[in-house]
Amino acid sequence: MIESTFTLQRSDFRLEVDEAFPGRGVTALFGPSGCGKTTWLRVIAGLERIRDAVIRFDGNSWQDGRTFLPVHRRPIGYVFQDAALFPHMNVEAYLRYGWRRNGRRDDGIPWEEVIGLLELEPLLHRRPASLSGGEAQRVAIGRALLSAPRLLLMDEPLSALDAAARKHILSLLERLKCELSIPVIYVSHSRDEVARLTDHLVLMGRGHVRASGPLAELWTRLDIAAEHGGAASSVVEARVAGHDEAWNLTLLDFPGGRFMVAREALPTGADVRLRIMARDVSITLERQTGTSILNIFPATVTGLAPTGPAQMLVRLDVGGVPLLSGVTRRSAHALGLKPGRKVHAQVKAVALL
C-alpha cells in the first residue's frame, strides 16, 4: 500500500492529493502535461519536499510530520524522463554505482538477470555520450533495478524516445512486469502505454485526482471513455486455453466466454491482455447465425453516452467484464438500447497487447 496525502501551492498551481495505491502491480498516474503527476512522483521519492505531506509505504512513514526520510534512505528505484546518466562513468561503472550501495544484494534482483532482461551486455563498456536515447533509457531502468528497489518510480520513461525505441522498451517493460514482483508507479500521458502496462489507474485533472480504480473498470467508465472519442477501447484480461490446430486459432478464455483469434505463439495457461476498440464491437438483439464473426457473447447493457452528433458509446457487461461498443444513435434507438437490456456483442477485432 502506498499512501500519499499533501497539498502543494505554487503561484497559480495547486496540487491536492489524498490517495492510496495497491502495493503491487503497475499503478499509472495518467493525465495531461502540467497536471502535477511528475511532481507527485517526486514527492513520493522525496526529491520534492513539501510541508505537511504524509507519504507511507507498506506501513513505513517516509514523510509524516517531522519525519522526512531522505531520498537515499528510501528503497526506491527512479527512472527519469531523460536517462540522467553520469557523463564521467561508463555504463558498467554506472550500473555498479547503485548495485554497490543497495545494501541488500542477496534479495535484490541478480545482476545477470537485469543485464539479460534489458539486453545490456553489449553496452557495458560504452560511454553515456555514445548511447542512443533508447539505449540510455534501458541503462537507466537497469540501474534503477540494480539498486534493489522495493518500489519502482517511472516518470514518462518513453516520452523522449522515437517510435521504434518506444516499442522496444515497452515490450521490455512488459517482460519486467511479468518476471519481477516490484510494485511500479508509472507516470504517463500515453493511452497506449497505460492500456498495456497498468493494473491500477489514477486519472488526473489539473492538480487533482479525477478518478482512481482498476484499469479495466475505469478505462470503460462512460464519462472517461467518451473523452477518448473514436479511440475508446476496453481492456480485457484473458488466459490462453489452448490452440485449435485444425484452423490455426488460439483460444482465449475470459469470464464472459472464449475468444478465438488467429494463432499466436503463446503457451497454454499464459495470461494475456486484450484491447478491443469500441468501434470493433457491434450489438445485435438476437444471436446472429450465418455470420463470419467468431466472437459473439451474450451481454447486458449497463449504460449509454453520446460521443458525437451521430455516435453513442454503449457500455456492456459480459460475464462481469466491462466492454464498450460504438454504435450510431439511430441504431441505439432502433434496438431500444437501455440499461438492463439483454443483447449480444459481436467482436470483430481483438488486439493482443
Binding site: A45, L47, P70, V71, H72, R73, I76, G77, Y78, F80, D82, A84, L85, F86, P87, H88, Y97, G98, R101, N102, G103, R127, A129, R143, A144, S147
Partner: protein, 226 residues
C-alpha cells in the same frame, strides 16, 4: 647571470602561488558550491564582493590590506595579541593579500562548473542510495573537474603575476617577501635589463605553457563528455 636574490625571489613566488592556490581551492570549493546552489539574497552581495579584485586597482586593495594587517589594524592587532607580531611585510601577510586578490579566479570557474551540472545527476545519485557526502565525492567533484582545474591554474598563474598588492603589503624584503614581479621591477629600475629579461621571459613562457596545458586538457575533456 642569475643572482641568488633572483633565485630566492623565484622560491618565494612559487611558495606564495602554491600556498594561495591550496588555500583558495579548499575554501573556494565550498564557497563556489554554495553560490551555485543557494537562492539566498545574500548571494548577489557576496558575488559582487568576490568580483571586486577584478576591477579594483591592486593598489587600492593593497592600501586597505596594509591598514588592516598593520600594527594598528584589526587583523594586525589580533595577530600581535597571539604573539605573531604585525602581519604587514611578512609572508603570511602576502598570503592573505594574494588569497583575496585571486579569489574571483578560483571561485568563478568552479561556481560555473557546479551550476552547469544541474540537479539531475545528484538526484539520480540520491535515488541510487548515495548520501550527501558520497554524492559530492563521486558525482559533483568528478563532474566539476574541468572547472576545478581551470580554477587551480588561473589562481596559480594570477598569483605569479601579482604586483600591486604585494608591493603595498609585502614590501620588498629579499628572501622573505620579494617576489619575481618586484625583482623584475627592481632590475629595470637599476637598468639591469639582462636580468629583467631572464625573469620576464621565464615568467612569460611558463604562464603561456600553463594556460596552453589547461586549455588543451579542457578541450580533451569536452571531447569525452559533451
Amino acid at each position: 647571470m642569475i643572482s641568488s636574490a633572483d633565485i630566492s625571489a623565484l622560491k618565494v613566488t612559487l611558495l606564495l602561488a602554491g600556498t594561495t592556490t591550496i588555500i583558495l581551492l579548499l575554501a573556494g570549493i565550498p564557497l563556489a558550491w554554495w553560490l551555485a546552489r543557494t537562492r539566498c539574497r545574500l548571494r548577489l552581495m557576496l558575488e559582487a564582493v568576490i568580483a571586486l579584485p577584478l576591477v579594483l586597482p591592486p593598489t587600492v586593495l593593497g592600501f586597505y590590506l596594509l591598514l588592516m594587517l598593520g600594527p594598528d589594524g584589526p587583523l594586525g592587532r589580533f595577530s600581535e595579541m597571539l604573539g605573531f607580531g604585525s602581519l604587514a611585510f611578512t609572508f603570511t601577510g602576502l598570503v592573505i593579500g594574494s588569497c583575496i586578490y585571486s579569489l574571483p579566479f578560483a571561485v568563478q570557474p568552479m561556481r560555473d562548473a557546479f551550476a552547469a551540472m544541474g540537479d539531475r545527476p545528484l538526484e539520480a545519485a540520491a535515488t541510487l542510495r548515495a548520501g550527501p557526502l558520497d554524492r559530492f565525492l563521486t558525482v559533483t567533484l568528478p563532474l566539476a573537474t574541468p572547472g576545478i582545474l581551470t580554477a587551480t591554474v588561473l589562481t596559480f598563474a594570477h598569483t605569479l603575476g601579482e604586483f600591486g598588492v604585494v608591493l603595498m603589503i609585502g614590501g620588498n624584503i629579499p628572501g622573505r617577501t620579494q617576489v619575481l614581479s618586484i625583482a623584475i621591477y627592481d632590475h629595470v629600475e637599476a637598468l639591469e635589463y639582462a636580468n629583467a629579461h631572464i625573469l620576464s621571459a621565464g615568467l612569460l613562457i611558463f604562464s603561456f605553457l600553463l594556460l596552453l596545458f589547461t586549455y588543451g586538457l579542457g578541450h580533451r575533456m569536452r571531447m569525452i563528455r559533451p
